[in-house]
């Protein structure tokens, strides 16, 4: 088991004693005299002279229940729809295959960064976890485009979109973007428009709000669902990118702030997988017409009272959209 151990003074002697009874994982540099270690005999560690406190290493959990309730996802689960048979392309920093929640669901993977098929920053894995909590029975096409610096080359993003499309993705989740002014006619947006004939593309609006015309590409693509972020109080997040009165993006908003263990995560990155997974749930109810799914998502959104270039159609409402899909 893993523990965090605080000692009175981290001397060579103390370290040597700890090494005899454990495997040292990490010596923290930002907090004094604190070590992470792995041992099966923590009692012996506790008895060592100089050891002050011992904490068991906890597991960070995604806390999404509030967000799921807010947008009605649990109602959709209760009606028996979990995303069965739907493939979501996760175009991101990769997915950690040691994560038991998501690793068993990866059907295809490819690295476009040339640095290897691992997740160096954890972002793609968190997106996959959110997708999996919202739509538990989906499968992943794992396309790694974001490298260890947190950036993705535009050509690699395009290659990944095309590869996911040709590999049979039903939905593509792009919790990334290129911040620039674009009317949806750049090559990346053009490609997403064409890819949208086969898959539902969902992209983060970007975190460059509240300035007007701050939506990133490929969320600027006309056929892409551009997702903005909503705060817990029902307002649009200040950072969430906006369109303008002449340019009606984003298309929709979703919860953009969650807790992951003791950490608060926020951004349009977080809001995007809620919409992608929501689309997957609807596709598992009826996969016959993807355009109808998009219309149901946008047409049943709850108007939060902000201009369309700030909130789009409003907050996603899963149970309402499901009713539309099942009733038609």
């Amino acid at each position: 088991m893993r523990y965090i151990v605080e000692v009175k003074e981290l001397s060579a002697e103390v370290l040597e004693k700890l090494k005899k009874n454990s495997r040292i994982i990490h010596i923290f540099s930002l907090i004094d005299n604190t070590i992470a270690l792995e041992t099966e005999d923590i009692e012996r560690i506790k008895e060592l002279r100089g050891v002050i406190r011992v904490y068991e290493s906890g597991k960070a959990k995604l806390m999404l229940r509030d967000a799921l309730n807010l947008i009605g996802i649990l109602d959709v689960h209760n009606r028996g729809f979990y995303g069965d048979g739907v493939w979501i392309g996760v175009i991101d920093s990769g997915i950690d295959i040691s994560d038991p929640l998501v690793s068993g669901s990866i059907v295809l993977e490819r690295d476009f960064t040339e640095e290897g098929m691992y997740d160096p920053i954890g972002h793609g894995t968190i997106m996959a976890r959110i997708l999996k909590v919202v739509a538990p029975n989906i499968s992943f096409i794992n396309a790694k485009v974001v490298d260890r610096t947190g950036e993705a080359d535009e050509i690699d993003i395009m290659r990944a979109i095309e590869w996911c499309t040709n590999s049979g993705a039903d939905v593509m989740n792009l919790s990334l973007g290129i911040p620039r002014k674009c009317d949806g006619s750049c090559p990346l947006c053009e490609l997403v428009n064409i890819a949208s004939e086969r898959a539902i593309n969902v992209a983060a609006a970007g975190n460059n709000g509240p300035e007007k015309d701050s939506v990133s590409c490929p969320a600027n693509s006309k056929s892409c669902i551009c997702v903005g972020s909503m705060e817990k109080d029902g307002t649009v997040s200040n950072y969430s990118s906006r369109g303008s009165p002449d340019y009606l993006k984003p298309d929709i908003i979703a919860p953009g702030c969650i807790r992951y263990g003791n950490f608060k995560l926020e951004g349009t990155s977080i809001a995007t997988p809620f919409v992608s997974a929501f689309a997957a749930l609807l596709l598992s109810a009826d996969a016959s017409d993807k355009r109808r799914i998009i219309d149901a998502i946008l047409g049943t959104a709850e108007d939060k009272g902000f201009p369309k270039w700030v909130q789009g159609h409003g907050l996603i409402r899963a149970s309402k959209a499901l009713e539309v899909i099942l009733c038609d």
């Binding site: 050509i155 490609l191 975190n207 349009t268």
Partner: protein, 63 residues
Amino acid sequence: MRLIVRIKEKSVVNELRIFGKVLYVSELTNIVGIDTKVEDAAKIKKIEGVIDVRESSKGVIAI
């Protein structure tokens, strides 16, 4: 440098290969990604059948 080149038709790709390594030829649209030298960017723009050329940008995660 990496360039995104919009072309009229796929036959232009062979000419682009003279100026660098072609990284990507879209199957869905007439777009090519190429790794080339800075001084060759201007030459690529002048190739007949090239509609426009832009430098490949960097995308960032939205968190």
